[in-house]
Amino acid sequence: MRGNAGRENAFSRLHPAVLMTFFLSELLLTVFLPHPVLQAEALVGGLLFCLLLWGGEFLRELGFYLPLFVLVALTNPLFSHNGVTPLFFLNGNPVTWEALLYGIFLAVSVTGVLFWCKAYSRVMTSDKFLYLFGKVAPRLSLVLSVALRFLPAYLAQSKRVERAQKGVGLYAGESFTDRIKNRLRVFVAMVSWSTENAMEVSASMKGRGYGKKGRTNFSLFKFTSADGVFLALILSLTALTLCGAAAGMKNFAFYPRVSRVELSPVSFAACLSFGLQSLLPALWEGKERILWKYYVSKI
């Protein structure tokens, strides 16, 4: 699985709008529906998806997430003494069963959200984000694109200026004052470079007809039928989960006593649909990989 980091995965190739809908739905439902089953599903789904995205690299990162999980799970019962079922007493304070369960619930929730955020940053790259924004504010997306072009150019030039100054011997020493002066001089020089550069860039923009009315926004993204299917799936699953929430799942409580996990048809359906939704990226990714293996076998 190593060496996956550079390759774009199958899930990432879906249309940005679909991806955005998925992540918004997944994250919002996880954060606002405090139901242990849903949280567990989000965690498992996120974990599987991250594993598929990063492979072995992610396994090593679990060394960070596992202690975090334990820490969050144990902190709650140590500091919160609500609940009616004491397990034992610590310094005269009861450590309760409810608080321990709530701690575990929190840990599941936090790590689940973290996994999904991690996946989000990998999948929703800046160009996708820009593309979505561009629909709302076309100018903004161009400005951001120009800025993203400017930034590396600025950094590269400022490094060149710094080295050039050292090379001709201006503030070339290692002393603190020399270094500060060097930074300052480079910065001042970079101000005039930036102005000069901005003029050149704007000439290039004008030369290619920027400023005329009726500018369109081009992007490489295409909305395919697979995107349509995926979007419909996400929306209907989310709707089902919300039905469950409306039917009382959102009222799950840990204190004073842990609520029972209801097994009404509605909440059962909600658990099932959210579970499916959370597994969707991993399933999609897995499906595409199996397909890929199949295609490769034909090459």
Binding site: E200, R208, G209
Partner: protein
């Protein structure tokens, strides 16, 4: 069909004492490839910018410009005239290659489907498919310039204006760019108006050449007519130095027959007229430059140096050994990525070798503390001289440099005057460094570097973007510095320049030095990596590497011929003193400026 007509165009920048352009008349036919040349500051850029409405400079303009029969004022499609400038970097607007290609089409308001098709088509024509989804800042200089060209052409212009587009490229990228340009002209019938100062390669490509001088049209005609026309105006016209080697050699040897343009034609010319130069050469000694000796004081040295930029990366230098003798000019040549600039940076202490020794003045570079390496020992001028300037005037930059050296006020003033006089930059002192031409900027940067009184001067691609005059000036400067005892190491792609200025040339390949020799031995042993003059003369004068050496070799043959055949009078070649150039008569009429 005529695509562009310029009538009586004059232009003056606000506040300028003289006109930048004077009474230019010009007609460009559709599908023509026109080359515009002339020394820096002759008005090439001004003329090109005036031709594109959106980029017209502000100032007093008179005369008319018609594009496809329409007055310039009435034009409304910016995409019809494409413009590519010198600096590859600052023309790129967006962060992704595909977005850069689409930018102009977005501005035209085209729908997605059309943009998608045109962008794809253009990317594949220019061979940019592999880079399509890449970030623009990861491209090389040559790729960037190709992208700039592609993102102009995607708008399907009818006329393409280019302002020294290869000035910042290495020779391989430059030649790739020019051949793409030629392909566009030949295969798509695109009209091209190209300003260039490096003419060796582009001269034979052009249908017509315009020479500008001081804002006026000096000469105009087919490439073959330009050399004779210029020398008609003045025997030693400075513009002649900028022409391709073949033209220069032929003109200096009397301008017999049709003017050769390419290496092949130049070789034919030499073999037809000077077959007897061969025997002369064997007797000829290596005059002028002394052969490199193994003794002599060593100014800087590398011993078995290994270097890589990243721990897991590839070695850039693998066991490089090189010693720089005191008082010599050493040129480091080699392809892209061979490690030439890296070697300079190691000498200058900007990078550290992980293995091997780097010595300057007999001491390891790392033993110089607190910037003492840059005080009276060495100075490095980077590839882009613009990066040397941090103040808003040249004077400010030089003064700041002097202030750090603990001189008295009078001493500072004296030194400033001294350096500006010896470098010939008096009148540039109060200008903003960014407003200088390439050659002027290079001289001012050199002045700043020389203030710290280095014994060893390291120059990274000093001739990049310079025209023939600026190169000549730089050569003279380097030679006069050498006479004062300076040692210099130059990294360069410019074989002709190295052949003229170097005492020794070293060839760097795959991280090590393959050969070090005098320029004559060095270039005459190479068969690809050598000067145009040498490639031309190699059949007859194997060891001639500069135009001057070829010319003097041929002249010697003629002199000898003159002695033995003085009374036989059987024609052949006559020495130029007695020859009235008949060939140039035909073009004489068109030569002068109006």
């Amino acid at each position: 069909m005529e695509i562009l007509r310029v009538e009586n165009l004059s232009f003056r920048y606000p506040g300028a004492p003289r006109e930048a352009l004077r009474k230019i008349d010009l007609a460009v036919g559709a599908g023509e490839f026109i080359l515009l040349c002339g020394p820096s500051g002759c008005g090439k850029t001004t003329l090109l910018r005036l031709l594109k409405k959106e980029l017209s400079p502000v100032g007093e303009k008179s005369g008319e410009i018609f594009f496809e029969g329409m007055e310039q004022k009435t034009l409304s499609e910016p995409g019809d005239i494409g413009f590519v400038r010198q600096d590859p970097e600052s023309q790129i607007v967006t962060d992704k290659v595909w977005h850069e290609l689409a930018f102009g089409l977005e501005n035209m308001g085209l729908p997605q489907g059309v943009i998608r098709r045109r962008v794809g088509e253009t990317a594949s024509f220019f061979g940019l498919q592999g880079l399509f989804r890449q970030r623009t800042d990861t491209l090389s200089g040559g790729q960037k310039q190709l992208l700039n060209l592609a993102s102009v052409l995607v708008m399907q212009p009818k006329l393409l204006l280019l302002d020294e587009p290869t000035g910042q490229l290495d020779p391989i990228a430059a030649s790739e760019f020019l051949s793409t340009l030629q392909k566009l002209n030949r295969e798509l019938g695109l009209t091209v108006l190209l300003a260039e100062h490096c003419l060796e390669e582009v001269f034979p490509m052009a249908d017509r050449v315009l020479v500008l001088e001081d804002g006026a049209l000096l000469a105009e005609g087919e490439p073959r007519e330009i050399g004779p026309a210029l020398s008609e105006i003045r025997r030693d016209h400075p513009m002649l130095r900028a022409l391709p080697s073949a033209v220069r050699i032929q003109l200096s040897l009397g301008g017999e027959g049709v003017c050769p343009l390419t290496v092949r034609e130049g070789r034919d010319f030499l073999e037809r007229n000077f077959p007897d130069a061969r025997e002369e050469e064997d007797k000829e000694k290596d005059e002028g430059k002394p052969t490199p000796s193994e003794d002599g004081e060593v100014a800087a040295e590398m011993k078995n140096v290994f270097f890589r930029y990243e721990r897991d990366g590839e070695d850039v230098l693998r066991g490089l050994s090189l010693s720089v003798k005191s008082g010599e000019i050493l040129c480091l040549l080699g392809g892209n990525g061979a490690g030439k600039s890296t070697a300079l940076n190691l000498f200058a202490g900007l990078e550290r070798a992980y293995r091997g020794k780097v010595l300057v003045g007999g001491k390891p570079v790392s033993s110089y503390r607190g910037g003492s390496l840059y005080r009276g020992n060495l100075a490095l001028l980077p590839q882009n001289p613009q990066t040397v300037f941090v103040a808003s005037t040249v004077r400010g930059d030089l003064a700041e440099m002097l202030q750090t050296m603990n001189f008295t006020k009078e001493e500072e003033k004296k030194r400033l005057e001294e350096i500006s006089r010896s470098m010939g930059i008096d009148r540039l002192l109060d200008r903003h460094p960014y407003d200088l031409s390439g050659g002027e900027m290079q001289k001012c940067a050199l002045a700043k570097a020389l203030l710290s009184e280095p014994k060893l001067l390291l120059l990274d691609e000093p001739t990049k973007g310079l025209d023939a005059f600026a190169k000549e000036e730089l050569r003279a400067l380097l030679v006069s510095l050498k006479e004062k005892g300076m040692t210099a190491v130059l990294v360069t792609h410019d074989a002709a320049f190295a052949a003229e200025v170097a005492d020794r040339c070293a060839f760097l390949f795959d991280g090590e030095i393959l050969s070090v020799d005098s320029p004559r031995n060095f270039f005459s042993e190479n068969s690809f990596y050598t000067t145009a003059a040498n490639r031309m003369a190699r059949g007859i004068l194997r060891r001639a590497v500069t135009c001057e050496q070829v010319i003097s070799g041929c002249r010697r043959a003629v002199e000898k011929r003159g002695k033995s055949e003085r009374f036989s009078d059987n024609g052949g070649f006559a020495p130029q003193e007695t020859e009235e150039r008949e060939a140039s008569k035909a073009y004489g009429g068109e030569g002068g400026s109006e």
